[in-house]
């Protein structure tokens, strides 16, 4: 089973390094003193950094400069000589999982070293259960000490053997204030006739369900058949009334900024970034509560564990975490990042979307994890959104 992995990875790496042969290689050779134990060619077999790190992430999820440059990745390359092949090819959890599943099921490499998946979907726990992710090389991640305490022991990976948080975020409601009065409740979103046909919901099962359940007065962290069906009925009614334009993945962003959507369920940090182009966009947790989730970095089977771990250690450096945060505006899982950010950009550091207040955290639910693996619920949900 392992044979095809190593062979395929080897060939891929060989091809990749061939194309960027010179500069990063030289830098890697010179960068021995910078904390990488791989430089010395001693008697023990020291892990070696790959030439290229293949990193798949969601859109709008890393620092960005004109020309498509990502300064934090450039610095990583400069320091470790590893070129990061950064791909924004995750639009929603389910379709990304299905993209990599065939390779993983056959024991082949997915061509990726780091992927990012959300804990309010069934997939991170499924990947761990199936043995489709590699264990982190914690010896290369001393900065794991900077992980915020409340994130250290998630139920699906109790010791963080396989995963580290990338960002957390809230699901709430975004609206365009030029086109509507503030939309701060799910009742408004699902029922206000003025918004008819201009409202988006998310294809993500747990995001939409959590907000609707909270609106129904039910507890999203303890889902029963009764509360589930009630939530489905609530959504179905809005769909039949023509209130809902479409169910969206990350692509709600463009529809909201060009005015096809007036109000939509939306992820907290996206709106802050979209405001750069459209200052009329607003975002809030609905009055009945939103949900909070964490996106996790994982190393899919066949990925380069050591290089990926070195990268994870790098982003857990408070200064680097602060740089990424300054752009992405999601909830930062790295201790010390706030202090680092205060120096760079105090306005951002005091933004409750990034370092949330207790009141916000109290108003954000965590979805019942057992519901995520309930086939019946999942099928009902998919039938609803592909009617």
């Amino acid at each position: 089973m392992t044979d095809p992995i190593t062979r395929k990875v080897f060939l891929r790496r060989a091809a990749a390094s061939g194309s960027i042969l010179t500069v990063p290689g030289l830098l890697a050779a010179c960068g021995g003193g910078s904390g990488s134990p791989s430089a010395g060619g001693g008697t023990t077999v020291a892990p070696k950094l790959a030439k290229t790190l293949h990193f798949s992430n969601w859109t709008l999820y890393i620092d960005n400069k004109p020309g498509g440059r990502h300064p934090s990745l450039d610095q990583f390359q400069k320091k470790y000589g590893v070129h990061v092949d950064y791909r924004e090819d995750i639009n929603d959890n389910a379709s990304f999982f299905s993209k990599i599943e065939p390779d993983l099921a056959r024991g082949q490499s997915t061509g990726r070293d780091i992927i990012v998946m959300t804990d309010n979907s069934r997939y991170p726990s499924l990947l761990v259960k199936k043995g489709w992710v590699e264990k982190l090389d914690k010896s290369a991640i001393p900065n794991i000490k900077n992980l915020v305490p409340q994130q250290r022991h998630p139920s699906w990976d109790p010791n963080r053997d396989y995963s580290l948080p990338w960002q957390s975020g809230f699901t709430g409601v975004g609206w365009n204030e030029k086109l509507t009065d503030p939309v701060t409740s799910m009742g408004d979103l699902l029922g206000n006739k003025k918004l008819k046909g201009k409202v988006g919901l998310l294809t993500e099962f747990s995001d939409t369900l959590a907000l609707v359940m909270a609106y129904n007065g039910d507890d999203p962290s303890h889902i029963t058949d009764k509360t589930f069906n009630k939530a489905i009925d609530t959504i179905q009614k809005a769909v039949h009334a023509g209130q809902i334009r479409q169910f969206y993945g990350n692509d709600y962003a463009s529809a909201l900024s060009n005015g096809d959507l007036v109000a939509t369920m939306a992820w907290s940090g996206d709106i802050v970034q979209l405001q750069a182009d459209n200052s009329h966009l607003k975002w809030q947790l609905p009055d009945t509560g939103g949900d909070i989730w964490t996106d996790n970095m994982l190393i899919p089977k066949g990925g380069d564990v050591y290089t990926a771990s070195v990268y994870m250690n790098w982003v857990y450096t408070p200064k680097i975490a602060a740089e990424i945060e300054d752009y992405v505006n999601y909830v930062c899982p790295v201790l010390g990042a706030k202090e680092a950010l205060v120096k760079q950009d105090p306005a951002i550091a005091n933004n409750p979307l990034i370092f949330p207040t207790k009141q916000m955290l109290d108003n954000a639910h965590i979805i019942d994890p057992t519901a995520l693996n309930n086939e019946k619920y999942q099928t009902t949900w998919q039938n609803l959104i592909s009617a």
Partner: protein, 287 residues
């Protein structure tokens, strides 16, 4: 018998020439099809794995649960095919009979959209049909669309997208069959006192039927299985069976149900094509 056949020089050459094609179809069509058939009778889930259990309920469940989407797919594909035919026929006719030395350039214009990928072309329609776009605003100003009305995220947009995307598949076969028509036949009809219209309906149109048949099939078959247009241009209630298969396959990772649906879709299309071929006469399929 086979040997006797191969001994004849012409026969063996034909078989040799056919071999690569046959091999390709066997490896890349028949084998996957067999695998799909096998998969469609499995049961289980992604968590616990799948096992072959002659699980016919994948088929009955697909029909009982998704009849609506099946019907919608054939309705959308049918409407799009008819519109594509009505739009393409005059264009193909004009190029074939009046194109003169511009023929090749005009044909290139029909194929030109193919230089841009399918997905990008469909995404471009999102912008064109956008609620604040020029098209919608003009239609509202002309009172064709009610104020607050929309085109994007409607069934109309889905049908329009399918029509647009598959139009060249209709226009090119039509052109080929019209181009081949012997003009003296039309002159003969006119010499025998047929009016222009009568000559068209009695001579030109019947002679172009192979193109009509080929064009409608090339449009209808892929359109019935399409899901991109419904996903990008449709709303919550415009999904086609392709969207359901996509969601079963990609979101629920329910391979058996997705495979069963693909087979049902194939079977219905095959049945429709056979009925169609019967109705217009099978020799029209080959010209």
């Amino acid at each position: 018998m086979g040997f006797a056949f191969l001994h004849r020089h012409r026969g063996s050459t034909a078989y040799l020439l056919l071999a690569p094609g046959m091999l390709f179809l066997t490896v890349f069509f028949l084998v996957p099809l067999g695998f799909l058939a096998y998969q469609s009778l499995e049961s289980g889930s992604i968590d616990f794995g799948y096992a072959f259990t002659w699980s016919w309920h994948n088929y009955s469940g697909a029909i009982s649960g998704y009849g609506k989407q099946f019907k919608r797919s054939f309705a959308y594909a049918g409407i799009a095919t008819v519109i594509a035919l009505l739009v393409s026929y005059p264009v193909a006719y004009w190029i074939a009979f009046r194109g003169g030395r511009w023929k090749n350039l005009l044909l290139l214009c029909i194929v030109a959209p193919f230089f841009v990928t399918y997905l990008i072309r469909t995404l471009a329609w999102q912008t064109i049909l956008s609620d604040n776009g020029l098209v919608v605003r003009t239609l509202i100003d002309l009172h064709i669309l009610s104020p607050g009305g929309r085109l994007l995220a409607t069934g109309t947009a889905v049908v329009a997208g399918i029509t647009y995307n598959f139009l060249p598949f209709m226009a090119l076969p039509l052109y080929v069959s019209l181009e081949q028509i012997d003009h003296t036949l039309i002159e003969a009809a006119e010499d025998l006192y047929a009016s222009k219209w009568r000559a068209f309906f009695r001579v030109t149109f019947p002679l172009s039927l192979p193109g009509v048949v080929a064009g409608t099939l090339l449009t209808f078959i892929p359109a019935a299985g399409d899901f991109i247009n419904a996903q990008l241009l449709g709303s919550t209630t415009n999904h086609m069976i392709g969207n359901v298969i996509n969601s079963k396959y990609n979101e629920l990772i329910d391979y058996p149900a997705a495979a069963a649906m693909s087979f049902i879709l194939m079977a219905i299309i095959l049945a429709l094509v056979l009925i169609y071929a019967r109705a217009v006469g099978s020799e029209k399929l080959t010209g």
